[in-house]
């Protein structure tokens, strides 16, 4: 139990660290959303006034 829990935690931390190295190369830009909330809902990645409504299907 102890080793399984520790292994899961270490994997999570390493995954987060690896992902954050990918983020550091991407600076916030004007027309791109760079993050999303962990959720089952789709991420609104476009501008609110996007002419195509970001392909919003509802």
């Amino acid at each position: 139990m102890k080793y399984i829990a520790r292994a899961i935690v270490v994997v999570l931390v390493l995954t987060g660290a690896a992902a954050s190295t990918q983020l550091s190369s991407a600076s916030p830009s004007k027309d791109k959303i760079m993050i999303s909330r962990p959720s089952m809902l789709p991420v609104p990645t476009c501008d609110p006034n996007d002419p195509n409504a970001c392909g919003f299907k509802g």
């Binding site: 931390v13 983020l23 916030p28 993050i35 476009c46 006034n49 970001c54 509802g58």
Partner: protein, 304 residues
């Protein structure tokens, strides 16, 4: 994305508010709402956002609302709840740390002080990074939320690492709710960072990663439901060796927070003393040998 994935995502969308409601109910039922108040607030925000968004989806599918207007509303609902969740996540980490360190009062005080400073600096850095000249209005807000969420995710993973490896000196077990909540938060933080890295390269509202995202959130909510369904095992008696660095640092931290005593060393007017006190001092000086009095006088002149 094929039809089966789309229908699975659609199912997961409706599954999230149900799981959130279950977690809220379990927290309230186990009467730990005060201890896990920020987690409760976080769940309420997620539930509110999900219910509002799903109502909007329903209205759009049944053409009760125009698609562009629906997206416009959805955009603000999503990012507002995300901002609230970022702040609440920081507060959840703060409360979990406080709960975990409760038996070691000195380290708890010191850790919370450090945490407050780190959080304040992180918020300042988030605003500073987002305040670049080409970002205005909504993009500026999204950039702040982005930075804040990344900071919160990294802090969460650090907390999880700490709770996992210092679980024994804190008298906790892997069945403790503190560990369960930290593990769930760690899952969300890792997925948030991976998701952000994915989105940085594939900007698409309906991507295959939504499925991974959905499963990760579902798993987190199930972990929390499980931990709050069962009674929490009591904290073990904390037995630390006398040479333990935890014990030593706890003693040092407790001493650091002590209110110091004060002693008057000079400039005390005789009126401050009661007549009886003055009389005692006069008698004591009368009993003192003359050589000792001269020594005291010379010391006084040296110190002056």
């Amino acid at each position: 994305m094929n039809l089966s994935s789309a229908s699975l995502i659609s199912f997961l969308e409706y599954f999230e508010p149900v799981l959130c409601a279950i977690v809220i109910w379990l927290i309230v039922r186990s009467r730990v709402g005060r201890q896990y108040g920020y987690l409760l607030a976080l769940m309420c925000v997620r539930l509110g956002c999900s219910v509002t968004s799903l109502s909007l989806f329903y209205a759009t599918r049944h053409t009760l609302i125009e698609r562009h207007l629906a997206y416009h509303i959805y955009f603000y609902i999503y990012w507002t709840s995300y901002a609230l969740e970022s702040i609440l996540s920081l507060l959840v980490i703060y409360s979990i740390f406080r709960l975990a360190m409760a038996p070691l009062k000195g380290l708890q005080t010191l850790g919370m002080l450090v945490f407050r400073w780190v959080a304040a600096i992180s918020v300042a850095v988030s605003i500073g990074v987002a305040a670049s000249p080409h970002l205005t209005g909504i993009t500026f807000l999204v950039a702040i939320i982005t930075q804040l969420q990344q900071t919160s995710s990294i802090l969460t993973l650090s907390l999880l690492l700490f709770v996992c490896f210092a679980i024994r000196p804190m008298g906790l077990t892997y069945r403790s709710r503190i560990f369960g909540v930290s593990l769930g938060l760690g899952f969300l933080a890792a997925i948030s960072l991976v998701n952000s890295a994915w989105i940085a390269h594939n900007v698409n509202m309906y991507s295959r990663f939504s499925l991974v995202n959905g499963f990760a959130v579902g798993l987190t909510l199930l972990i929390w439901s499980t931990y709050f369904s069962f009674p929490e095992p009591k904290r073990r008696i904390i037995v630390l060796p006398t040479t333990s660095p935890f014990l030593r640092w706890n003693q040092i931290s407790m001493a650091l927070g002590d209110d110091p005593g004060y002693v008057a060393i000079g400039g005390v007017p005789p009126e401050l003393f009661a007549p009886a006190e003055l009389e005692v001092m006069r008698r004591a000086s009368a009993k003192m040998p003359v050589s000792q009095l001269e020594g005291a006088e010379s010391l006084k002149s040296l110190s002056a």
